[in-house]
Symmetry: C2
Subunit: 149 residues, 2 copies
């Protein structure tokens, strides 16, 4: 029997969040936070809807996961993110001491790795899960946006 | 006649916010956002109260200022901060395109400059305003905390 809960399974859930953002006209980035194979928080980018540059998917999901856990540290949690986090979100993940992050598409221009932003020493990083699908949704969004202007 | 509105004036207002945080048992960091000599947003660290690592003074004030302005970019705004911003807050300030930040105390261990985090090219930076006073409040907090444990 195949294990139903693996990295692809949860990244698909994050991708569903990204699609919700896309439908709202937001840059399509989505996130789920998982503990013991259970999703405890979800988030999608809402910067346009909320008129707030801090409303990235990751930021909302960090707050929601901490609320669920009743504590501010996300130990034993894994965050699945469709896009490599930016400086702000990586900085927030640092403070959260999250155990693991898994991201889909890379962001060579705005991603945290370009700038030397540090995650917490306790945080494991994996990337490339459903990279094509995560990247394709972002590409589609930006092509459509360009054609509208 | 002395101009009442200068960097020291607004940093004192940020310091009042930091003192409010101190009284709540929070690491004492405070912020005000100013446009045309008018304070449009205030914030103080609430990470313990809200159980949320993203609840730094700067993050709350960015959201509040954007709400006041009705737009997410903080153009023509200056943020006065009692402590050098961390990676997360500097990353948020990057997205906000804020015109200027002024901070009091330096943070050689956790400050954004240590990690190479980038602010927006439009953002001017000034530091050292009321540095002693801002730093003294932080020192007092940490000494008292150590003596309690």
């Amino acid at each position: 029997m195949l294990a139903p809960y693996n990295d692809e399974y949860f990244m698909k859930k994050a991708l569903e969040e990204a699609k919700t953002a896309y439908e709202k006209g937001e840059i399509p980035v989505g996130v789920v936070v998982v503990i013991n194979d259970r999703i405890i928080a979800r988030g999608h980018n809402l910067t346009e809807t909320l008129n707030d540059v801090t409303a990235h998917a990751e930021m909302q999901a960090i707050t929601a996961a901490a609320d669920f856990l009743g504590g501010k540290y996300l130990q034993n949690c894994t965050m699945y993110i469709t896009l490599e986090p930016c400086q702000m979100c990586a900085g927030a993940l640092y403070w959260s001491q999250i155990s693991k992050i898994v991201f889909g598409a890379k962001d060579p221009q705005r991603g945290y790795r370009k700038f030397g932003v540090q995650l917490h020493p306790k945080t494991e990083v994996e990337s490339g899960i459903l990279e094509k699908e995560c990247g394709a949704l972002l590409k589609r969004f930006f092509i459509e946006k360009r054609n509208l202007n």
